[in-house]
């Protein structure tokens, strides 16, 4: 009985230092094969550009960002390294979730706030992160992690700005999490 219950419980996470080494090897492999690090927000930008180009082609021809983008990127924006890599991330996360029995529909939040509040802040946080990732030329993956791996000054600045700000604000929004 107890054994059966244990079987149904989700598996625990791997050791963070082992996880870190595997993450580092993935970034190393990406550099060895493709000469670049991993990323996340870039694929979402490609999706936005592709969507605007197909829904409002005239606007995409006129507006500055899309014009500059198509001048510097040939072909379909979705046919890019980061888009294929992000599809892989979706599959990889899904596989890990299945193997560890962590698949559930769930809104994760502190008991002090409602699901609704959590979702509003998730949306707001996403908007800020999306905007900031474009202004900062990459997010935690593309700019901070991959940038630091190749010793880019920008990567180190990115990391310090992201984590430093989150640390500085943590106290004021503690109710959201603890």
């Amino acid at each position: 009985m107890e054994k059966e219950m244990r079987k149904k419980k989700s598996r625990s996470y791997i050791n963070p230092y082992i996880g870190g080494i595997l993450l580092g090897l993935t970034v190393l492999l990406a550099n060895y094969i493709s000469g670049r690090g991993v990323g996340a927000s870039g694929a979402m930008k490609s999706t936005i550009v592709a969507a605007v180009e197909s829904i409002a082609p005239k606007h995409a021809d006129d507006a500055m960002f899309y014009k500059e983008y198509s001048e510097s990127h040939a072909g379909n924006p979705l046919n890019s390294w980061l888009v294929y890599q992000m599809l892989g991330v979706l599959v990889g996360g899904f596989l890990s979730g299945i193997l560890a029995r962590r698949m559930t529909w769930k809104v994760e939040h502190s008991p002090k706030i409602t699901s609704r509040t959590r979702l509003i802040f998730a949306l707001l946080g996403g908007v800020l992160f999306g905007f900031g990732s474009q202004l900062g030329r990459g997010c935690t993956s593309g700019s901070a992690l991959s940038g630091m791996a190749v010793l880019s000054l920008g990567g180190f600045i990115s990391m310090m700005a992201i984590f430093g700000t989150a640390f500085a604000l943590a106290y004021f929004v503690r109710k959201l999490w603890i």
Partner: protein, 196 residues
């Protein structure tokens, strides 16, 4: 010798195909390290769970050392590796905005996709938010462009900036990480993790 794509050892289609598998490894590692849980991720900012610190810095150090050794062994030509350019002000201000997004939303783009993949609804909403945020940036681009392009310092490496060798720089990062890991382990004992 790597990078394989630059030296024409693989075709550009193979490169895109392999990107998919690199992504699978990336997503698998993030999820299995616990990066699909927002309350686990933000734990680092309250001290009760420092998994982000440990995974992120172990990852960065491993990749740094790996690249140095690959270069030493003649397996990779580092001059062909993409070095993220440094535009000082947009990097700092973009980072500050991302930091605010991190503590309010509980994810970053890569981790939100992983969490969405296992059914976290807050993560799916966060991803929707990212798309809106990027759209605001692309639509308002003429407004932010002066800031976006300001203070370009080139594809500058941090060891060049400080005028030290890359090996010395990596060693200093390892020391700094060791201190942070020690603080992280201490904090996890001091601050009790909430149940999540």
């Amino acid at each position: 010798m790597g990078p394989l794509i630059v030296n024409d050892i693989i075709s550009s289609n193979t490169n895109l195909f392999l990107a998919f598998f690199i992504g699978i490894a990336f997503g698998f590692v993030l999820e299995s390290s616990g990066f699909s849980s927002s309350r686990k991720l933000v734990g680092v900012f309250y001290g009760y769970d420092t998994v982000v610190l440990k995974v992120f810095f172990t990852g960065a150090i491993t990749a740094m050392i790996g690249l140095l050794f690959f270069s030493l062994f003649g397996w990779i030509d580092l001059t062909y590796i993409y070095i993220n350019p440094t535009y000082l002000w947009s990097t700092i201000i973009g980072g500050v905005i991302m930091g605010a997004g991190f503590i309010l939303g509980g994810f970053c783009p890569g981790t939100s996709v992983c969490a969405a993949a296992i059914g976290k609804i807050d993560a799916i909403i966060f991803v929707v938010g990212i798309f809106i945020g990027i759209f605001i940036f692309t639509e308002g681009y003429p407004i932010w462009k002066p800031l976006y392009m300001a203070e370009f310092m080139g594809n500058l490496k941090i060891n060049t900036f400080f005028n030290i060798s890359s090996g010395t720089l990596v060693m200093l990062v390892i020391f700094a990480a060791a201190v942070m890991f020690w603080i992280g382990e201490w904090a996890e004992k001091k601050f009790k993790a909430p149940k999540y």
